[in-house]
């Protein structure tokens, strides 16, 4: 079945079962591999994308349910918060293996877009669903604060 989705501002048509998780549609059907597979059950956040600006787990979002909501992936994020986050990530050298970092960046960007000056508690709430097996959590926290400063500047 053919389904049309709006991804990073462009209409993309996918020929797949409506129950296909958005994660696999992005990765396999569209070759957009920035969004990662970590658990498949909404427990790790590696697959985080934005649906109308809200972070969602693409492994548990089915392409038949997306409708005309606008999907943003790591390949397409842009704007003040995203730029600040990616710059802070690079500056503090947050990534180790890097496999979780697309999801971390998507979650952090959504947080900052909503809450430009987050407290540590805000960060805990927004980021606790994103697992990093390399335990880069300290630098993730630091980088979110740095990104907040960059946005203010």
């Amino acid at each position: 079945m053919s389904i049309t989705l709006t991804i990073n501002g462009e209409p993309r048509t996918i020929d797949a079962d409506p129950e296909t998780p958005l994660l696999w549609a992005l990765r396999d059907e569209l070759g957009m591999t920035g969004t990662k597979f970590g658990c498949g059950i909404a427990q790790c956040g590696a697959c985080t994308v934005h649906l109308d600006g809200t972070p969602v787990r693409s492994c548990q979002t089915f392409i038949g349910d997306v409708g005309d909501a606008s999907i943003t992936t790591i390949e397409g994020i842009d704007g003040k918060a995203a730029k600040a986050v990616q710059a802070a990530w690079q500056e503090l050298e947050v990534p180790q293996c890097g496999y979780c970092q697309s999801g971390q960046i998507m979650a952090a960007t959504a947080l900052l877009a909503e809450t430009p000056k987050p407290s540590d508690d805000d960060i805990d709430t927004a980021m606790d669903g994103n697992v990093c097996r390399c335990a880069t959590y300290a630098r993730i926290r630091q980088a979110i604060h740095l990104a907040a400063d960059k946005m203010e500047a």
Partner: protein
């Protein structure tokens, strides 16, 4: 269609014998004689410079070829730092790529084969990569001298630019082609440490940008190719059970499913993309033969291990004095039993591997960690010599030991699937085998379950008169190609490392080992034996300090034997943590020190308790002595990472089995450490001029005992059975 598998394929994993036949000259380590797959020279164009470790392209890019796997521990940056420094390259022009699989050129000097592990990447490459950088620089200078007609001694190199007082200057890229024609210096002159510009200072991570932008194709999981199939396997619910038949009628109805293939490790569904393969796998109906499988529960296995520690074991080669005699005449004997669970590595990227096999040669794409072993195993399975097996090493999304496999089982599995397809008359086609998180958590190759029994004799004043120690676990090495190098008189050094001797002055000490048997495959897990021996040794020492009525830090410092680097890290961590300063109410501290992989790490953990009684680790102060600190920022990152990884495990992680079936499945049941668990961490590096040693693993062992000692400071009890969640503490 219903398939009856009359003769399930024999396991294709080569036996130890095959390996030994393939290895030559056991005396000097695992020497694997391999033919070199052509020259390391890139594209073959005349304008490039291509030595095994350094390529310089006409566009002025310096590529450092990483013979190791970088799964987050930062060796790509570390090796780039070494080359860039000796070469006097500019930071911006340096990139890293993975070297091809070629043991002759790219062996780990600590192993004799190409592979990464034991926190050896920087230690074994320190001289080699500096020499490579220095040689490239000498050749660039010789090229400039030839081109400009001036003496080489008059040429200056700075930040990627060669220049002469006559006003001539050139970039590396300009001279790359001419430099390639110069003689390779046998003994290039290395810089003096005081002239280093990057080593010990700062060199930014070469992978930070790509990994902050989700760049395509970074990981094996992201590999894509025209006409590629994705395979997902139904794996046996009990370890080493084999499929005797399967019904794939429903599975084949899933759109996108192309084939169903049986291999010794399970039944593979092949589909045009990942999701149909996962979905169809769930619809397979497989009959398993459990006759050789593990059918016990982990409780039963733990009892077996505990029983073993009550009996005499194999003596460990090290040790001194006669602890049994000392115990017999001691005023008092403390006997403590410890129990450690199986642990999954759970790297963020589960295993994946792409294979393309055409009958005459094979190519793989994956985050290979043991390239030489992987090449040989794949070659054996496919009937190819290793030089016909190409491996494109990709970045790996973590490993923690999981991708370093003495049996290369994931290569063997992929190779068998590809071979089965070809044998059935299909055209060669790339096949990506994907492990789901469930496959990862339930798939074995765990840190072994371990039991320890420590018996320590004390005199009337609480002083130790003798210590007898026993360890029981399945050996990681026995039965693998590494056995000849790691097992002596039946004792696997990785089972007892850390308690074969202790760094403390003890009148008598002897360890013994027992090797338990189980079909559950086991593997090294970040810091290997030290994951449990460090916990036991350092919680025992704390207990003994209390028996002697001494402060745990003073007790340790007073008894450190010759090796004062232990004392160095202990003192630094204690000083920075304010060890002797009073703590606010409700806060408790613990300290521990462990040397692993020749690096020394001491950690002070400060904890509190939440209202529900669980432990909150508030802060960890870490001191590390890893010799010359090549890249201080990466050392800090690795210490944080090792601490987080170890803390996650001691808090809540265990793989348990009921009647041989793993109880955990995914991150909802095998609970990873999260942001809210993470303490504040301070890392301090001991200045040193000793040769550099590793940092990938050594941060992990001390955190468990440091936290346990803090809990004991609060409650007077040392936890001897992990994880802490078993005791309502996490």
């Amino acid at each position: 269609m219903l398939h009856m598998l009359e003769n399930p394929l024999q396991s294709a994993v080569p036996s130890r014998r095959t390996f030994l036949k393939l290895s030559a000259g056991a005396a000097g380590g695992l020497m694997l004689a391999l033919r070199m797959p052509g020259s390391a020279r890139a594209a073959g164009d005349d304008a490039s410079f291509a030595q095994p470790f350094v390529h310089i392209r006409p566009d002025n890019t310096v590529v450092v070829l990483n013979k190791h796997q970088d799964m987050g521990q930062g060796n790509a940056t570390g090796l780039a730092t070494l080359v860039a420094d000796e070469l006097d390259a500019d930071i911006a022009q340096v990139t890293a790529e993975f070297a091809p699989a070629n043991a002759a050129l790219y062996k780990n000097l600590a192993f004799g084969m190409q592979g990464t592990g034991g926190s050896t990447a920087i230690a074994n490459s320190f001289m080699q990569y500096r020499q490579a950088g220095a040689a490239a620089k000498a050749m660039l200078i010789a090229a400039a001298a030839e081109d400009w007609g001036v003496p080489a001694s008059e040429i200056k190199v700075e930040k990627g630019v060669l220049s002469h007082s006559n006003g001539k200057s050139a970039t590396f890229g300009d001279l790359a082609g001419l430099a390639a024609k110069q003689e390779v210096p046998g003994e290039p002159v290395l810089k003096k440490p005081e002239d280093w510009v990057y080593i010990g200072k700062d060199f930014p991570r070469v992978d930070a940008a790509g990994k902050s932008h989700g760049s395509i194709g970074f990981f094996g999981m992201d590999h894509q190719a025209e006409n590629m199939l994705v395979a997902v396997l139904a794996r046996p619910p009990r370890f080493i059970a084999v499929a005797t038949g399967f019904n794939d009628t429903e599975a084949r109805k899933v759109k996108g499913v192309v084939d169903v293939v049986s291999v010794p490790s399970g039944v593979a569904v092949l589909a045009t993309s990942t999701w149909p393969a996962i979905k169809a796998r769930g619809l397979l109906d497989v009959t398993w033969d459990d006759s050789k499988a593990e059918t016990r529960s982990t409780e039963e296995m733990a009892r077996e291990l505990a029983d073993m520690t009550g009996k005499k074991g194999l003596p460990v080669a090290k040790g001194h004095g006669d602890p049994e005699a000392a115990l017999a005449s001691a005023a008092r004997v403390i006997e403590v039993d410890y129990s450690f669970p199986f642990l999954a590595h759970a790297p963020m990227e589960p295993l994946d591997i792409t294979v393309l096999f055409d009958g005459n040669s094979a190519t793989f794409w994956t985050g290979s960690q043991f390239q030489t072993v992987d090449q040989m195993v794949a070659g054996t399975v496919l009937g190819l010599t290793p030089d016909k097996v190409a491996i494109n090493t990709t970045w790996a999304g973590g490993s923690f030991g999981r991708r370093a496999q003495p049996d290369s089982h994931y290569f063997a599995e992929a190779a068998l699937i590809a071979k089965a397809r070809l044998d059935a008359g299909n055209a060669p086609q790339p096949i990506k085998v994907v492990w789901t998180r469930e496959d990862d958590i339930k798939g074995g190759y765990y840190r072994p379950m371990v039991a320890h029994k420590a018996r320590v004799g004390l005199d009337e004043n609480g002083n130790v008169v003798g210590w007898h120690h026993r360890v029981a676990s399945k050996s990681i090495m026995i039965g693998t190609s590494f056995e000849p190098f790691a097992v002596k008189d039946g004792v696997d050094s990785t089972s007892v490392e850390g308690v074969d001797e202790l760094p403390y002055e003890l009148p008598a000490f002897q360890a013994e080992a027992h090797n338990a048997e189980t079909p559950v495959p086991v593997l090294w897990w970040r810091s290997v034996g030290h994951t449990h021996t460090g916990y036991v040794a350092e919680t025992m020492i704390d207990r003994l300090a209390k028996e002697a009525g001494e402060d745990p830090l003073d007790y340790r410092l007073k008894r450190i034997k010759k090796d004062q680097r232990y004392a160095g890290v202990l003192k630094l961590a204690a000083e920075k943590a304010g060890w002797k300063d009073p703590l606010p109410d409700g806060r408790y501290r613990g300290i521990a020190v462990v040397k692993s992989f020749n690096s020394y790490v001491a950690e002070v953990a400060e904890i509190s308790f939440r209202d529900d009684g669980t432990v909150k680790v508030e802060k960890v102060v870490c001191a590390v002595d890893c010799g010359i600190p090549v890249n201080p920022k990466n050392i800090e990152a690795q210490m944080q990472s090792g601490i987080g990884y170890g803390l996650g495990a001691i808090l809540r992680n265990e793989v348990t089995m009921t009647d041989g079936v793993v109880d955990q499945e995914n991150f909802d049941t095998y609970l990873p450490i999260r942001m809210t668990d993470m303490p504040e961490i301070e890392v301090h590096i001991v200045p040193s001029t000793e040769a550099p040693t590793g940092v990938g693993e050594p941060g992990t062992p001390p955190i468990g005992p440091a936290v346990a000692n803090a809990i004991a400071a609060a409650k007077g009890e040392w936890i001897t059975e992990l994880p802490l969640s078993k005791h309502g503490l996490a």
